[in-house]
């Protein structure tokens, strides 16, 4: 999929950066969205299309698409499941959990003992808690005795959701 981790950052020139700044909040809802962007950044439509295509080919754009609101689509039980998994097995097991069709994100993260013993995070999404609990049982089963303890943190409110936002002006 869009897995391009551990790569060096891309070199962006001034036009790339203007395009990122102009589109990070969204693509214009206009029949010719890239012509609108082109007018904003002072380039031609063809040039913007070429830059967007290049940013995508090099992994800087993961995709051009919509981010749904889980709640309004009826996915009310959005659980961040967290697991304390043996360090020497977490990579192998994490890959298997990331491949489950109901898991949207799966990461290894640092523990903060004693407050936070968990090193494996997997997001699950159910229409209700029962569906989410069934998904969690599948993960628990898969981890077996490699997992010492786990917890589930359901989101109860979106406090902010804006996506990436470059704060500053061009640096070039």
């Amino acid at each position: 999929m869009n897995a391009v981790p551990e790569q060096l950052p891309l070199e962006l020139d001034a036009l790339d950066r203007r395009i990122v700044l102009a589109t990070q909040q969204g693509l214009p809802l206009d029949p010719r969205p890239y012509a609108v962007v082109a007018a904003q950044v002072g380039a031609s439509e063809a040039e913007v299309l070429q830059r967007i295509e290049r940013l995508r080919a090099r992994g800087a754009i993961r995709r051009i698409g919509a981010v749904p609101n889980h709640y309004t689509l009826g996915y009310r039980a959005n659980g961040m499941t967290v697991w304390d998994v043996d360090d020497d097995r977490v990579d192998e097991l994490g890959r298997r959990i990331g491949a489950l069709d109901f898991v949207s994100h799966c990461y290894r993260r640092p523990r903060h003992r004693p407050h936070w013993p968990y090193n494996l995070f997997a997001m699950v999404h159910g229409r209700d808690r029962e569906e989410a609990e069934r998904q969690i049982a599948v993960i628990a089963d898969l981890l077996g005795d490699a997992c010492r303890s786990h917890d589930v943190l359901y989101s109860t409110r979106i406090l902010k959701k804006t996506g990436l936002r470059f704060a500053g002006p061009d640096r070039d």
Binding site: M1, L12, R63, G65, P68, H115, W116, D151, L159
Partner: protein, 152 residues
């Protein structure tokens, strides 16, 4: 839950996949869905206005742009929750922020232009809220994107 008709659902499902990079991308997708471009654009605007979709456009990978991400948790006293949420959300580097039902009840993602900014913003948040922050950057990604089907 939003009221979505069959066309809305088809739009939500289709637009979670990639949009073609071309001069008239909406016209192409509209043709795939059997509607016209103007209808797709007006429905897409409504889906965004009604927060069925939280955003639409290029989804940038901050790390590939030279920036950094981190997940940060805080344990916020209930009687300060709204005030702290306001302070945290005021940072432009906070890309999203969720309330969760746990002792760690505030979880936000930082997206910054440089890896050094993560530590700086965390320190500023700790100072301006007077509360500890628990930085949990990803160490490995075992990730497959979920597509949430509308109206299954």
């Amino acid at each position: 839950m939003a009221e979505l008709d069959a066309i809305d659902c088809a739009i939500v499902n289709r637009l979670q996949d990639d949009l073609p990079v071309c001069e008239r991308p909406y016209a192409e997708v509209a043709a795939e869905l059997g509607i016209d471009e103007a209808e797709l654009l007006s429905r897409l605007q409504r889906l965004l206005d009604e927060r069925v979709l939280t955003r639409f456009g290029p989804l940038y990978d901050a790390e590939r742009l030279g920036g950094a991400f981190s997940l940060v948790a805080m344990s916020v006293p209930e009687d300060r929750f709204e005030e702290v949420a306001e302070r945290v959300n005021a940072f432009p580097e906070v890309a999203h922020n969720y309330r969760r039902d746990h002792d760690f009840n505030m979880w936000f993602v930082l997206a910054t232009e440089t890896p050094e900014d993560i530590a700086r913003v965390n320190a500023e948040i700790a100072t301006c809220t007077g509360l500890p922050v628990y930085d949990m950057p990803k160490e490995a990604e075992y990730h497959l994107r979920l597509k949430l089907e509308a109206c299954p």
